[in-house]
């Protein structure tokens, strides 16, 4: 009990401990704010990638695609853990809109909107037909015209707040799509004729995934049209990918593993068939693996930032060390008295370590509270700074980021607080051991008094 009383007393009475607590609070505040924003950004980015991809992808990076997908689709529809499967055509095309004089090379994705809406978050990403995927390829005005869905950055401008200007009555603008059909061997299907597969589609909707690379370079086409344009319809139908959504409650890794096994069997069985060699290049990936290249970059930045904070946080350990060294130097007589009435060295160490833990908790509490307050108002502060000084944390016309993430991640906060307390304990350990080594016979000598 006396340890607790003394620890509290030192915390209140020794002004030096206020500085230590202030240093802890400062570090905790900064780390909580920065990591909350960073974690929020990474989390949002992952969610957007998931919405774009679905749970699992069976596909190849080659523009040639792979055959016999319908058979594998049937197998997948027959198993109990798969909720939806969407075959997808992926290629590149020259796209020319309206009266534009020049074509631009863009990625085209051919989908069945209903299937794709079930397998991914496609339905939430379209604007005019949100959650009504069945009509997404129907242009306004004449629903019989072939429609296409254009990624938002190719179609609309963003304002300074990152909001797009949507035309309330979109015109069915003609968009000429020209594809280079490839044979199953990867050769040009119509080499020598000088003509390509070209078809005019009409703008029917815009698509916003929140992923910069996607929103600036993709046009969605109806599956059959895309398959024809890319030369993947005949003689054996091919696709680039199958997007799969698992039933609720199915673990991602388990689901992917099961799909992987099914694919292995299917691939072995069909490789001997015409063009079956293309099946060898097909990979089964979870959405995380499929989008790894993009997600990993952000995660690494988070790791780097954490490492830098650990380095800077060393200063806090030094401060605790100095403060405790100072307190122990001043409290040699108290220690002498404690030991003379029976307290052991371990008791003294426990006393000071307890004190340091208290200091860590107090500092962390202040830091977390300040961080919470700041995060609650971070978007208001940014808005104010933008109105008064034109300052934005991110230029919303350049970055596909909306509000600054401000939702506190309790696990992250708990980790930060634990690290702060551990840093305090680490800083206090040497002075505590020194205190434990004090001998009452020396500290309580008359000459010392």
């Amino acid at each position: 009990m006396y340890k607790l009383i003394l620890a509290f007393r030192y915390l209140y009475k020794r002004r030096a401990s206020y500085f230590a607590a202030a240093a802890v609070a400062l570090c905790v505040f900064i780390v909580v704010v920065v990591m909350t924003v960073m974690t929020g950004l990474v989390g949002e980015f992952k969610k957007k990638n998931y919405n774009f991809t679905g749970d699992c992808v069976v596909g190849t990076e080659s523009l040639v695609g792979f055959p016999y997908y319908e058979d594998f689709e049937k197998i997948l529809r027959g198993v109990d853990f798969v909720e939806a499967v969407s075959p997808v055509i992926n290629s590149y095309a020259f796209v020319s809109a309206g009266d534009s004089q020049q074509g631009v090379g863009l990625e085209i994705i051919g989908i069945d909107p209903n299937l794709h809406g079930r397998a991914t978050g496609f339905g939430e990403m379209i604007y005019y037909h949100q959650n009504d995927t069945s009509h997404v390829f129907e242009p306004a005005g004449d629903k019989n015209l072939p429609g296409c869905v254009v990624a938002i950055d190719l179609w609309a401008q963003r304002d300074s707040q990152g909001e797009y200007f949507y035309d309330p009555t979109p015109e069915a603008t003609p968009i000429s799509i020209t594809c280079f059909p490839l044979t199953a061997r990867g050769a040009l299907a119509k080499a020598g004729t000088g003509l390509v597969n070209t078809k005019t589609f009409y703008f029917s909707d815009s698509f916003q995934s929140g992923l910069a690379r996607v929103d600036g370079s993709v046009v969605f086409l109806p599956f059959d049209e895309a398959q024809l344009l890319c030369g993947m319809k005949e003689p054996i139908s091919r696709v680039s990918r199958l997007h799969i959504k698992f039933k609720p409650g199915i673990n991602l890794e388990d689901g992917c593993l099961k799909v992987g096994k099914l694919w292995e069997q299917f691939s072995d069985k069909n490789q001997g068939k015409p063009d079956g060699i293309l099946l060898a290049d097909v990979k089964v990936q979870s959405w995380k693996q499929n989008r790894r290249e993009f997600i990993a970059a952000m995660e690494k930045e988070q790791v780097m930032l954490t490492a830098m904070f650990v380095l800077v946080g060393l200063t806090t350990v030094f401060i605790i060390f100095v403060v405790f060294y100072m307190i122990v130097s001043h409290k040699t007589k108290d220690i002498g008295i404690l030991k003379s009435v029976g307290a052991s060295g371990v008791d003294v160490v426990t006393l000071f370590l307890g004190f340091s833990a208290m200091l860590g908790v107090a500092g962390s509490a202040v830091g977390v509270a300040a961080g919470l307050l700041f995060l609650r108002n971070i978007n208001t502060i940014e808005k104010l700074l933008f109105e008064k000084f034109g300052f934005q944390l991110w230029d919303r016309t350049l970055y596909a980021i909306g509000d600054i993430p401000s939702r506190l991640d309790l696990t992250m906060v708990a980790i930060v607080v634990c690290c702060a307390v551990l840093a305090c304990l680490a800083g206090a350990i040497l002075p505590s051991v020194r205190a434990a080594g004090e001998r009452p016979v020396e500290t309580l000598q008359v000459s010392q008094l």
Binding site: G313, T315, F318
Partner: protein
């Protein structure tokens, strides 16, 4: 002299002071590394633009013929070193069975491009020829292909296999490109052209986008392929290299004048068409992005700067402790006639010394890490298997490792000021110490 003696004595005897030096050094080193890498990245970003498109770019809204006359006019401007035409298109490159890539095709004047950009330096073999032969079945067009078009960098090291890339020199490729042309009944239609290419050399610029996306062809060969009906030379952009020390603003005025004259007199363009032409320096074209990078740098420096404030607290605590334990020394000094100001100067000066020593160590450490940042990154990869820097994410193959000396100076000064500030309160406390209270017998 007495102050210097005391500073050295405290430095030698009070080992706890080393902690404040370490804290200052750590903060200083971290800030130097962050600022240097950001500055290096921004410089590399701007330089990459200059290396790939020259100092100034004339980008009209549509392609135009007879560019030779314009480039001759521009080259007459005294500060212009060279002007090169470029014709840009897009296409699909067939690299072999099932290997197809979407690429950007740059038609360039091979000789002139070398004068305007760093194209020549980027070639692995380093030999360039101006292919003047028409494309025939026997003579595919000589092309220069970005290394990333041919192969992916190693997944773990993010490095290209240069030998394998060199081995592909001489390999034949098929490029499919085209343009929108007026067809029968003035209907616009896309016309595909298939061109046979042979790889003359492989280009490695270290800029991900260029290495991954671009195939270079002789401009005339590309024009023949994309605009077969046009009999005149044709360009989409003019890239201009200025001489060193050229006044960009004044030169831009001359270039704009030359363009307007050419466009109105030679091309017969309307004022509207002429005004739609973008004439910018490479740096102006990157300005928005550079501003954003700079903002991110400032935010990161602010965050680490605030965290580094704890070093001031540390100096304060240490000096407070020193003053507490040295009250008798202070009292003796004062009883010998030293004034409060002199006593305060000892501690503030000592704080400054701590800051300077910490900053010096931090600068050495920061500069060493910055200079060897690629080695550090490689060590992290080898030890932890974590590849932090990838060209596909950060544009460049190598982490920029130039020390930002301007920032180093700022951080050294701030370190000295911060350490002195940390020592200020304890110094005032020491200055107000009364010898009569301290030196009493009881």
């Amino acid at each position: 002299m007495l102050k210097l003696f005391l500073w050295l004595r405290y430095l030698g005897k009070r080992r706890v002071v080393l902690l404040s030096i370490a804290a200052v050094a750590l903060s200083c080193a971290l800030l130097i590394v962050v600022a240097s890498i950001f500055n290096g990245f921004i410089n590399a970003f701007e330089q990459a633009a200059v290396d790939s498109i020259g100092d100034v770019v004339i980008a009209p809204p549509m392609k135009f013929p007879d560019y030779q006359e314009l480039t001759d006019q521009i080259e007459k401007i005294s500060v212009v070193e060279a002007a090169a035409p470029t014709l840009m298109s897009q296409g699909l490159l067939h690299l072999g069975r099932g290997k197809v890539r979407a690429v950007e095709v740059w038609g360039i004047d091979i000789q002139k491009q070398g004068k305007v950009t760093a194209f020549e330096k980027s070639l692995l073999k380093g030999e360039k020829t101006q292919d003047a032969r028409p494309q025939t079945q026997d003579h595919p067009i000589e092309s220069y292909v970005g290394i990333g078009v041919l192969e992916e960098p190693n997944d773990k090291t993010d490095e290209y296999d240069f030998e394998s890339a060199k081995a592909s020199i001489g390999q034949e490729l098929v490029l499919t490109t085209g343009s929108i042309v007026e067809g029968k009944d003035s209907e616009r239609q896309f016309k595909r052209q298939t061109i046979r290419l042979v790889i003359s050399d492989v280009s490695f610029t270290g800029v991900y986008y260029l290495d991954k996306q671009v195939v270079y062809l002789p401009i005339e060969r590309l024009r023949e392929a994309v605009y077969p009906d046009s009999k005149q030379p044709m360009a989409g952009q003019i890239h201009i290299k200025l001489r060193k020390g050229a006044d960009e603003e004044a030169t831009m005025v001359q270039i704009v004048r030359a363009w307007k004259k050419f466009a109105s007199e030679k091309l017969g363009w309307s004022d509207f068409q002429i005004n739609q032409t973008r004439i910018e320096t490479a740096r102006q074209m990157q300005a928005r992005y550079v501003a954003e990078f700079n903002k991110q740098k400032w935010i990161l420096l602010l965050i680490f700067g605030v965290v580094s404030l704890s070093a001031v607290l540390l100096v304060f605590c240490i000096f407070y402790m020193i003053v507490e334990t040295k009250r008798r020394d202070i009292a003796i000094l004062k009883s010998c006639g030293s004034g409060g100001g002199a006593i305060a100067t000892i501690f503030v000066g000592f704080g400054g010394c701590v800051g300077l020593t910490g900053a010096a160590i931090g600068t050495l450490l920061g500069c060493y890490i910055t200079k060897n940042i690629n080695l550090v990154e490689e060590l992290i990869r080898v030890i932890f298997g974590l590849k932090l820097w990838k060209a596909s994410v950060y544009m460049f193959s190598r982490i920029p490792n130039e020390v930002a000396w301007g920032w180093v100076l700022i951080f050294v000064l701030l370190s000295v000021i911060a350490a002195s500030l940390g020592a200020l309160l304890p110094a005032i406390f020491a200055a107000t110490t009364k010898p009569v209270n301290i030196l009493r017998y009881e």
